[in-house]
């Protein structure tokens, strides 16, 4: 007899080749085979079709937190007024939030940050990063940021221009980071540090490289479930004088993600941001995918006072991350669509890094403590409404629900001008 996998029962048996399982399933009759079927009734934005830019991380590695809208294929090339130089006529701006939208939503100035250098840390080479960034900035009328004019620098993990590391498929993440930093702080210099791999150690060492090269802010849009490895890398994310932002994750409430748990970083959650007729002009609530969690490995910082988490609670602050309401980005490598919309807390972390740069005082962000002061909270939009219950549920607690005051998905809120960020 021969084992076969040709019909139904054999398909079932074929799965048996996976020798070990640990599964959580729903009661019969309500179950889906995979994924999360839990709904978040508080979120009013329609879920957008997305795919994770980075797949699941193996132990010791991190995944990026970018989520690409698969229903947006905006094509390639410069758009907006800048398109006239090539085509003779202006083209409409791409779908998704642009720099002006983000400035309006968060009451940010168009100037500032001239003496700031924001580094983004990503895994592997993004061969079209500079070219794609040029299209983005040109489209939105942002000043050029190129190697030639000294605004843009791309280095490997060692801090040198060459050799570049191998491509790790993170080009979309890189583009998102570059575009969001540009949107928040058009006049900042940018360093792209390309880690040798997506291993937690390589990424951590790349943060050190960024700081060594003069970064004043370092953005990290990646993470992995915290574990016993996590504390061993904490020192790489502690550079007093330099603000280090980290995405909170894209999987909703659950076990916290590192490096967002480190006490020396600003953990950035995610929101859904939509235009409305309010005085602000925008409504904002927790994004259902925003990561939040209570660390079991990192002690609670003295400046965090939330009641129910005895450890470091993620997150501290937030900005738009919902792919359904997300920013426009431009990327052509790794199957990028040209113009597209990408979300995830990979969007909010570099944006907040750019906001801190815009404020011009990264030295105030050796940790996130300054965002917890009463005066800082006055400079934040307190995001109320929505939750990030995707699989685990905290029973309506602040840890997974955006409530008045501090909460896990959105921290103390989103930027309302620069007052909370040193401006």
């Amino acid at each position: 007899m021969t084992f076969t996998s040709s019909t139904r029962s054999r398909t079932v048996a074929g799965l048996a080749m996976a020798a070990v399982t640990a599964v959580l399933v729903a009661t019969p009759g309500t179950a889906n085979a995979t994924g999360s079927g839990a709904t978040n009734g508080a979120t009013t934005t329609q879920a957008a079709p997305v795919r994770d830019v980075c797949g699941t991380a193996e132990p010791g590695y991190a995944r990026c937190f970018a989520e690409l809208r698969t229903d947006v294929q905006g094509g390639v090339g410069v758009r907006g007024m800048a398109a006239a130089s090539a085509t003779g006529h202006a083209a409409s701006l791409p779908r998704g939030l642009g720099p002006a939208d983000l400035r309006a939503a968060y009451k940010l100035p168009a100037t500032g940050g001239e003496n700031q250098t924001v580094a983004i840390v990503d895994a592997g080479d993004a061969p079209t990063a500079e070219a794609d960034l040029a299209v983005y900035r040109s489209t939105y009328g942002l000043p050029p940021c190129t190697t030639a004019n000294g605004c843009f620098t791309k280095v490997n993990q060692a801090g040198t221009a060459s050799p570049p590391p191998s491509n790790q498929g993170w080009s979309m993440e890189v583009a998102l980071d570059l575009d969001m930093v540009s949107a928040a702080c058009p006049n900042c210099r940018i360093i792209l540090v390309e880690a040798d791999s997506a291993s937690s150690l390589d990424l951590a060492e790349s943060v050190d490289t960024a700081v060594r090269l003069g970064a004043t802010e370092v953005s990290n849009s990646y993470g992995a479930t915290e574990s016993g490895y996590s504390p061993t890398l904490a020192s790489h994310y502690a550079h007093p004088g330099v603000a280090i932002t980290v995405s909170s994750g894209d999987s909703g409430y659950g076990i916290a993600s590192a490096p967002a748990i480190y006490p020396s970083v600003i953990a950035v959650g995610g929101t859904s941001l939509t235009k409305d007729s309010s005085a602000r002009g925008y409504a904002e609530k927790a994004w259902s995918g925003a990561g939040s969690g209570c660390s079991a490995w990192i002690a609670k910082p003295a400046w965090q006072k939330d009641r129910h988490c005895p450890g470091r609670m993620v997150s501290d602050v937030s900005a738009v991350a919902d792919p359904a309401t997300g920013p426009a980005i431009y990327v052509t490598a790794d199957g990028g669509p040209g113009w597209g919309i990408v979300g995830g807390t990979s969007a909010s972390a570099p944006f907040i890094a750019g906001v801190i740069a815009l404020g011009g005082h990264p030295e105030r962000f050796a940790d996130a403590s300054s965002l917890y002061s009463a005066s800082a909270r006055a400079g934040l939009y307190d995001v109320v409404g929505g939750s990030n219950v995707e699989s685990m549920d905290c029973g309506g607690d602040y840890q997974c629900k955006a409530v008045a005051g501090y909460d896990g998905p959105t921290g103390n809120g989103s930027p309302k001008g620069l007052s909370a960020f040193g401006g």
Binding site: T7, R10, V12, V20, L24, G35, G228, G254, H308, G311
Partner: protein
Amino acid sequence: MSRRPHHRWRRHALGALSLAVGLAVTGVGTPASAADIPASADIPGQAAGTVRTTATGAADPTGPAATAVTLPTGDRFTVSTTGGKPVYMIDSTEQHSPALATLRLPSGDQYAVPYPLLPHLGHGLDLSLFDLDALRRAGGGGRIPVRVVFTDGAAQPPAGLTLTSVQGTTGVGYLTPTFSDTLRAAATGAGPLFSGVASISLDTPGAVPPPVMTPQYALHPVTVSATDLAGRPAQNVFVTVADTDSMRSFAAQLPMVDGIAKVQLPAGHYVVLALFFDQDDKGDPAAYRLVDMDNLTVPASGAATTFDVDERASTTPLTFSTPRPSSTFSMSASASRMDSSGLSVAAGTMQIAPNILPFYVTPTPAAPHGRSRFLTQWFNIAPKNASPSYWYDAPFGSPEIPADGAYRITDANTATVRNHLYRTSDGHLDALGEGFIDPVFGAGALGFGFLVPAPDDAIQYLGAGDGGNWLTDNGEFGGDLNAVSDPVHYDGGKTYDVDWMRGPIAPQVGVHHNVDPKQSVLPCVACQAGDQLHFSFNLAGSDSDPAHAFIPGQSWSTHMTLSRDGTELGSSALDDGGITVKVPAGAATYRVVADTSRSPELAPLSTVTHTDLTFRTAAKPTRGNTLPDGESCLDDTVIAGCQILPVLNLTYDLPTDPHGRGTADTQSMNLTVDHLGYDGRGSNAPAKTARVEVSFDGGATWTQAQVTSTSQNHFRATWANSGAKGSTPWLRVTATDAIGGSITQTVTNAYAIG
């Protein structure tokens, strides 16, 4: 008109569910809380008398301890205690409200809220007014003590509310029976319930205030420490931790580093499922050991907690023995834990030869609350060249992990299934398989299939001790005859004979059994719900076993049209999910014309069929035609009162040899004429007529067979096999029922003359 995909294959998805690797929580709502009034209501029965809304299963509480309680709406209950547990009964002779939402809160009190008042809870009415236990404690002789807060100190209390004292904007008093009329009248209007009244709440020292919905989700640090056989920190272990009070709160596989994981957990009860992997000196896998630690506690005190998981506790080996020679091709074992809402975690292994390693477990008692399930399944195959082929597929399940891990096949716990595989020529290979449906978790454990020669016999020894159903299928390897079966239940100690591919093979709607939505999904083939009607066949048809459904192969071509009272409603391929249409209310006559054809190269019999059937729908739904609860009706949705359409179904029992050849001078065929059915539901209208015709010249001329009725719906046809040896007669069968239904079905090359 809409089409839907293969419904049959949803059973597959369920069957594979437990094999999905990874972690996912799906489709379960948040447990009820104080601010979460259930959306569903207990609707008291219509008959006079008493209906128990919340029961312990004990005898009726008619003793002197029973206390009458009246809600502000006038609904009356009897509250008593039986066996230490409260029993609440509504007196439906004094029932005023059409429906009641029931709610039990952590305080232990039982609430019953008339549905019309739900929107007013917290907006003028306090939940405490509907606390049956508090009302019982309050007594009052027909008066309900209340506290009233006015928005305006000059406001007057509503009729039926008598104030005994007022201080500022707060008054204390009681409700009289007339208040019920006031309340029910006010509840029907829009806006505030009572003008000038902010709230009315129960005022009694005995009342237990409903819990304030202040989130309290304090987390506490927990360390999970795993130790290996040598007493060192375990390096090769998967640890899953779940909150057995509610797995929505926490259920995850923890990242272990040097035998340690840390996690923040809410107070409560937990299970730890740890699966260790032993390695030999070369670093190759040597054994698996499962440790199941249940009923662990994370205290609310805030003290640090450590769960110590020791591999050395896993010492009981799992083994399997069979009466006939066999070797293990696969074994699986998993421990599952379910919370009260039905969410579960599981940990275990599935192993395939030749890499089957020893598996050890820790004997563990059944879960003290929620449910636990240990399931091991063994698949053993016969030695090479055994004829006929045979194999053992034996699942064993129990709520505990037993102290004796030696599993044995016995006559009592095993069913013998003799499969007879029909083929027109020798040298075929069939893939015959089965998939087990666990009776507790519904999802399948493992499914197996083997290539066996056809025509031939193959024997499955299927474990029956666990009580689950089996899905079986058989497909011609490299051919285009593939059939799946409805769920089948086998009793231990019995022998079953199953024919596969025995013709005539023709489109049928099927007569279905073992319908259990908890175990498998078997969507209705032809049903109507309201103005929506769906028609399809049992995929592309059935063979001599009405539980079998054929999946069209590559050479198949199928088509059908559906008409209503002479007007065509739609058309579809038979394997295209069927036809769903909107139809007017009222009785109607429907007609379906279906054709199938396929290449004779791989299977030269039953190559072309033509079916022309009619059925009449009734003006009103009938109880006997109602689809069993939980089964999906239209487009994979469960619809109450879904009606099974009274479509005739023909089951052919035409004796032939394994090559499909009728060798007797006089050919016989048993014919069953019944209707689409699901576990006895569906039309039971008797067959009225049956006619069988045979053509030996390719349909040019037809000879009527002699047909006798052997019992209701059963007929026996006989005719002379007058064709030449090797010829392939056609059959044409016509039948009618007593409610105006009819079917005429023609099958070309229905069998061969041998």
